[in-house]
Amino acid sequence: MAEPILTATDLVKHYPIKGGVLRRTVGHVKAVDGVSFELLKGETLGIVGESGCGKSTLGRLLMRLEEPTSGSVVFDGIDMYSQRGRAMRKLRRDIQIVFQDPYTSLNPRKTVGDIIGEPFDIHPDVVPKNGRRKAVQDLLDMVGLNPEHINRYPHQFSGGQRQRIGIARGIALNPKVLICDEPVSALDVSVQAQVVNLMEKLQDELGLSYIFIAHDLSVVRHISDRVGVMYLGKMAELGEEDEIYGRPTHPYTQALLSAVPVPDPTLRDKKEQIVLKGDVPSPANPPSGCRFHTRCWKAQDKCKTDVPLLELRPDGVGEHPSACHFASPREVIETVDVSDQEVVFKAEVRDQASFEQPQRVGEGTQES
């Protein structure tokens, strides 16, 4: 087993909501609310969840683009949030990020050479000044772009190529950890596969560890060794890729997996689908107890009061961490035969969907 390179412990990020004439704090958006995990050397940890679950905030916290409300991140034995000045700058070199939108994350007024070379301006000791152009060209070559295009501007590239530029910038300083925040979601399917392949190739060549944040479950499954499922600022389930996708025990994971359309029409009426009622509640006013209880078909009184801990729970074969009082395995994706029982179950869930949802939709639950 490889050793952890990054350990997050009980990370919390609350954003204050200001209201009234005096701009007093009237509440908090609990974007990330107690998340702990380890990232091992050379592995890919996928983070999945719906919009508003806090996965991007988590990425920003790990970059220290945001200061956490509480909690700690230990990177390579160093406590990240207690570093300042030069030590912090040195640390930043080892953790880099690739952003989601290749259209807005590149400065349109700078050439590709300037964009990819900018990390060298901030960390001048990485590459000597006269070697920078060569270094940038090597990076372009490495991500599959023509090194002669160094003087072009971002608008002269397509979406997939721009994402390659973003990746080149991310790996320019030879980081140990690359945080990828939805790196392929803005891309077309045919181009998406190219970028995923590139990221896997770079991981092999450079020994990178990835935190791969995405909402596309099949891409995450393809690239990840381990996967964490987030819901409203908390980790609902965490485990090896085959544990999460093959034997999920948290109802949310099960519903999420069942909702993913499978590109095979022959499974159309055979796969069981759990249609969840309502929308994700607002993180400004998350439900008490288990945050999923308002949409969960297994919810009992206990779920409304007691917060379930992310701890090892049996999944039928072994055990892996899941934050549900009633965690139990249930085949989701690979189900082919559907018993009568499951059909009845589907109908039940549908019925509930037509009931009123308890959340006020008008309150900050907008998506997209």
Binding site: E50, S51, S158, G160, Q161, D188, V189, S190, V191, Q192, A193, Q194, V196, N197, E200, H215, L217, S218, V219, R221, H222, I223, E241, A255, L256, S258, A259, V260, P261, V262, P263, D264, P265, T266, L267, R268, Q273, V275, L276, D279, V280, A353, S354, F355, E356, Q357, V361, G362, T365, Q366, E367, S368
Partner: protein, 347 residues
């Protein structure tokens, strides 16, 4: 459910002058659309043919820039002209060509006969009017109903698309709804006048998966209930597999393959379709490279000669660079625009 949801039945009967023959609703023939811009002419659609029957779901599948949304806009008659120009083709609705129809008559088809759900519900709804008022507008403008009757109908529609507490929410504004609820409101508006054809342009792309599942099952339910012809425009191969009957795959403004959904997924007959299907991450490919399609979709101002897909195609020969393949029948019910369709299909 409520009683106002039966097949093409309306409390205010609109005497539709259109009667589908043998269930055939829409025929698109050799449609072409160009955009005349300062930088040149972008050929967005270059000869598209398809038809749609009652109760049928046709998926138009394609990546950005393939012309799938422009096709929908041309059918709806909502292209900005200029810059768009329609140099040729016909769009026949129940036998009548929409493109040559006077605007007055066209307006009467838009809504009662053919309507559309857009991708981005937030920017498609007017932020300064309550949603109920916006739904009711359909009844006021097209059916001449008064304010209170039309609002009553709006509430019923909101209930039909499963918006909780519809009576209280009818006066709420778009920003007070979540993304999924807004899309339901868009659907309510689209089905308000019992259209025979519903076009859904990426209806779930901006939504989360769990919400996407809700919206797709609602659309399917409504289609079955009203026997609408549904054109689903999407880039998501998973969504298509779940709901479509027939598929038309578009690339660079042309349909490159057309087939029944089961046939297409089992055995694609065009290299582009094949490449698309192979580039989805699959279980048994874990740890391997994804079979990506190399290269990039073409610039619509400089579409390659011959087959537009030839620079990215692994089957490409000299003939592909010279001669444009026509969409031909390669097997019963299957058409492919590829010189080597046989090889792709059986190889």
């Amino acid at each position: 459910m409520t009683t106002d949801t039966q097949t093409r039945k309306s409390e205010t009967p609109a005497t539709s002058q259109y009667k589908p023959v043998d269930g055939l609703l829409l025929e698109v023939e050799d449609l072409r659309v160009e955009f005349h811009t300062e930088d040149g002419v972008a050929k967005a659609i270059n000869g598209v043919n398809f038809d749609l029957h009652e109760g049928e779901t046709l998926a138009i599948l394609g990546e950005s820039g393939s012309g799938k949304s422009v096709t929908a806009q041309a059918i709806m008659g909502i292209l900005d002209m200029p810059p768009a120009v329609i140099p040729g083709g016909q769009i026949r609705y129940c036998g009548q060509d929409l493109l040559t129809m006077p605007e007055e008559q066209r307006r009467k088809t838009r809504g009662p006969e053919i309507s559309m759900v857009f991708q981005d519900a937030l920017s498609s709804l007017n932020p300064v009017f309550p949603v109920g008022w916006q739904i009711a507008e359909m009844f006021r403008k097209h059916r001449g109903m008064n304010k209170s009757d039309s609002l009553e109908r709006a509430v019923k529609l909101m209930q039909r698309v499963q918006i909780p507490a519809a009576k209280e929410r009818v006066k709420a504004y778009p920003h007070q709804f979540s993304g999924g609820m807004r899309q339901r409101i868009m659907i309510a508006m689209a089905i308000a006048l019992d259209p025979a054809v519903l076009i859904a342009d990426e209806p779930t792309t901006a939504l989360d998966v769990t919400v996407q599942a809700q919206i797709m099952s609602l659309l399917q339910e409504l289609q079955e209930e009203r026997q609408m012809g549904l054109i689903l425009i999407t880039h998501d191969l998973g969504v298509v597999a779940d709901v479509a009957d027939k598929i038309a795959v578009m690339y660079a403004g042309r349909i490159v393959e057309r087939a029944d959904v089961f046939d297409l997924y089992r055995q694609p007959a065009h290299p582009y379709t094949k490449g698309l299907l192979e580039s989805i991450p699959r279980l048994d490919q874990k740890g391997q490279q994804l079979a990506a399609i190399g290269g990039l979709p073409p610039n619509l101002m400089r579409i390659p000669a011959g087959c537009a897909f030839n620079p990215r195609c692994r089957y490409a020969q000299d003939i592909c660079r010279e001669e444009r393949p026509e969409l031909l029948t390669v097997a019963p019910g299957r058409e492919s625009a590829c010189h080597f369709a046989e090889e792709v299909l059986h190889g």
